[in-house]
Symmetry: C2
């Protein structure tokens, strides 16, 4: 729009580059920042740049971390002998939000994908095997997503882990709470039926 | 959430402070920035800080501007003798988006509000009167919002402008395009009936 000053136009396009922000919300945020004190905008930018500089991968589990070890791996209350294997940090955060799991994690960094040349060595699978030996891990919960690639990765892990004295489990698949059978896909229905349990 | 590194947590709360962003979208944006190159994040912050430093009010119309005069006031193609009076810059941008008006603007900076002690001198009304004299303005289109305060401000302007040799008009009020009579409030219906026109 020609009536916008150039610097404002640039700020709006920078904001529009972020996921989930369209032109309207980007403009709204830019106008909000214009009305905020200079200090406030500087603090905002500092928070983003500091995060960018500080964040690395946890030495043990490859979760995001400010230090060598992430908040989970450096928490002595978390059981090092129970490891939940996830594809990405976002998956880890979803499980943490449920506030139920008390073990530790291992972030694979993706899924196996022969077509795109993603092999076990491109993921953190070798490091997972090292951890299992080092910490004498008792249980591995495979929480890759129930997609074709997530399933393939889970199957591969099950094969590899057969050589280790460790219990391997898979996160439950079925109808989500609040879900409605008439909108659930047939594969999930089949898996949910297979995973049926007697009433306790 | 305890599993989040501190710097990431800070970035998420900084993003959550922006209008329209909840925890989910703030987390999504933070993760996106983490995956972007450092340079990209720096450019993003530079765009915001530069805007903050550069933007001031246009000397003539009080629209946002990088220079003394805003893009509208410095455009010789825009008629200086037709001025559309709006409450805020956002209102100005909405009118610009319609890409129809070819005159210039005057941003009042709000509405008259005796309860909160906002008098004509707190708005840019004296500067508007100066402009009318200086540029020999022919038409003032009052485009304050059709709210109680916007109407009061419009009425005040009509009174003051009686002393000037200028045509004063009010932006049309009625049913918006795509609107549905059954959801329109009674006051708008009444105004729309009063504003009825013969078919051309």
């Amino acid at each position: 729009m020609k009536a916008l000053p150039k610097s404002l136009k640039n700020a709006i396009s920078a904001l529009q580059g972020l996921p989930g922000l369209g032109e309207k919300s980007a403009t709204r945020i830019a106008m909000y920042l214009l009305d905020s004190p200079q200090e406030r905008v500087k603090e905002f930018c500092d928070a983003l740049l500091k995060m960018k500089q500080s964040i690395r991968r946890c030495r043990d589990c490859f979760h995001l971390s400010d230090d060598d070890l992430c908040p989970v791996c450096s928490d002595p209350a978390r059981d090092p002998q129970q490891i939940c294997v996830v594809e990405t940090t976002s998956d880890l955060l979803s499980i943490e939000q449920a506030d139920f799991f008390k073990g530790r994690y291992h972030v694979l960094g993706g899924t196996l994908d022969p077509i795109n040349n993603i092999s076990p060595e491109d993921l953190t699978i070798p490091q997972l095997l090292d951890r299992i030996k080092r910490d004498r891990v008792k249980e591995i919960i495979i929480a890759t997503n129930p997609t074709q690639q997530g399933e393939a990765t889970a199957h591969y892990l099950v094969e590899v882990l057969k050589e280790f004295p460790v219990t391997v489990t898979r996160i439950g698949v079925g109808i989500p709470m609040g879900g409605d059978l008439k909108y659930i896909d047939p594969v999930t229905i089949r898996l949910a039926l297979e995973a049926r349990r007697s009433f306790p």
